[in-house]
Amino acid sequence: MSPTSRRRVAAMARRNLLVQSRNPGHWFLLLVLPLVDALLFGSIGVAFGEGDGPVELLVTGIILFHLIWQLTLAGSLGLLEEVWSRNLMNLIATPLTEREFMGALGVVGLLRTAVSISVIAVVGVGFYTVSPSSAGWVLVPSAAILLLFGWAITTFVVALTLQYGDSAEVFSWGTLVLLMPLSGVFYPVESLPAVLQPIAAVIPLTKVFSAVQEGLATGTVAWAQLAYAAAGTAVALGLAVWFLDRQMRRFRALGWVTRFT
């Protein structure tokens, strides 16, 4: 990446951070939502479980889910902010490339993720004496796969936003709301209704959360499950990038920019 390109990514990341820091709604999503989630799932673990196991499972699960959640929010809301303020045409008429734009969303997403999981980790340690690293080394590859899967969802939502504008906002929430119960964040997928289990089985996230649950129970790293999840995530990412590229071509060919002016 050239120095000029880096400056553009940094400038867009700064723009996103300034906009989000001045919007109370973003602070709520960044700090209050993870705090509430940590308290909610931590307390459920204490109330219905025996020993540290359930609390560890629930707090670790919510930390990992926020990895995807915050990354996706930063990406989709980053573009939506430009749609809402009708700034898209201003940006298109500069040297900013699509990759630089997405790069800036990624930087902001990672920062949001770091803040959000720190909040949950502090609550976990402070109120429930649960270490965020209870599952051991399995967390490292799991986090990497989750971030890549989150980026696939972000890319998909950005591609939809180019066509549907702010109507696509629902996808930034809806996709994850659908995935949360199906991917067995807090329970083995065998707990799901039988009809949903085959669907859950093909979602890469399911294997990640299953590997983490195994790590918590046995301290081992379920490499086979992680390899399946990594392969599935690579497919999802490839499809999302293909879809975004297709949408960008349609954006230029069909003059969608006029919807945002």
Binding site: R8, R15, S85, N87, M89, A93, T94
Partner: protein, 251 residues
């Protein structure tokens, strides 16, 4: 590889664009040389905005080629836009930023090494340094347009593209924008390409008018020569006659 001649800032060849059943641009060819002041005019639906957006790489033509400041589109769009500025009277500034932050953002996007210095310079040149700490949402329409204009020229572009640059501005602010454009053109040989519904503004600002009808060029030349050849006393009368003709066709 560049195909246009020396001193040429923009070359468009045989551009065609269709949206469904509507032909927006129909075989338009245009060459603009450095330092020219060109106005694209025509009634609503003539193809002005589609043409401008194609020339900026925001819309891809169905047919035809575009070379912008020596870079073929769409591949060279990013490099080309480092030397092109764009402002539209109808586009708001990004919100939740101050004027200084907004201009720093665009200075960085244009690849300037010292955005802060560039911001101070452009604010001083336009006499709006006092607006720097203000939130963009708090600006009046005229102040917003001036800042939008500052955003478009902060990197001293070779070509400035303006879509309705002084729409809904009070006469004083409109005059300041026009004066600044004339100074840039005279001192830096900056090329101007604008669309406007204000024919007096076009006559004053441009040395060449490209008149569009149904996506095609029907007249191209100095404003005085264009209206004389068409048999009208001035550009506004020609514009009104063309608009009336279009209304008649629509009826």
């Amino acid at each position: 590889m560049t195909t246009h001649g020396p001193g040429t800032v923009l070359t468009a060849r045989d551009l065609r664009k269709r949206f469904g059943d509507t032909i927006a641009v129909d075989g338009l060819s245009l060459e603009i040389r450095r330092g020219e002041r060109v106005g694209i005019v025509g009634p609503n639906g003539a193809g002005k905005t589609t043409t401008l957006l194609m020339l900026l790489g925001a819309i891809e033509p169905d047919e035809g080629t575009i070379e912008l400041v020596g870079e073929p589109l769409p591949g060279g769009r990013s490099r080309a836009m480092e030397r092109v500025g764009f402002a539209a009277g109808y586009l708001p500034l990004p919100d939740r930023l101050t004027v200084r932050e907004t201009l720093e953002l665009f200075a960085a996007l244009y690849g300037l090494e010292d955005p802060r210095r560039a911001v101070e310079e452009v604010l001083a040149e336009l006499g709006i340094t006092h607006l720097a700490p203000k939130a963009t949402e708090s600006l009046s329409s005229g102040q917003g347009t001036l800042v939008g204009f500052a955003k478009a020229v902060i990197h001293h572009p070779t070509l400035v593209v303006l879509d309705e640059p002084t729409a809904s501005l009070d006469p004083d602010v409109a005059m300041r924008v026009r004066d600044r454009l004339e100074v840039m053109n005279a001192e830096h040989d900056t090329t101007l390409l604008l669309t406007s519904h204000d024919m007096r503004e076009v006559e004053r600002l441009t040395t060449r008018v490209v008149f569009l009808r149904d996506g095609r060029i029907i007249a191209d030349g100095h404003p005085t020569a264009v209206v004389a050849e068409a048999g009208y006393p001035d550009l506004e009368t020609m514009f009104l006659a063309e608009a009336a003709r279009r209304r008649g066709e629509e009826v």
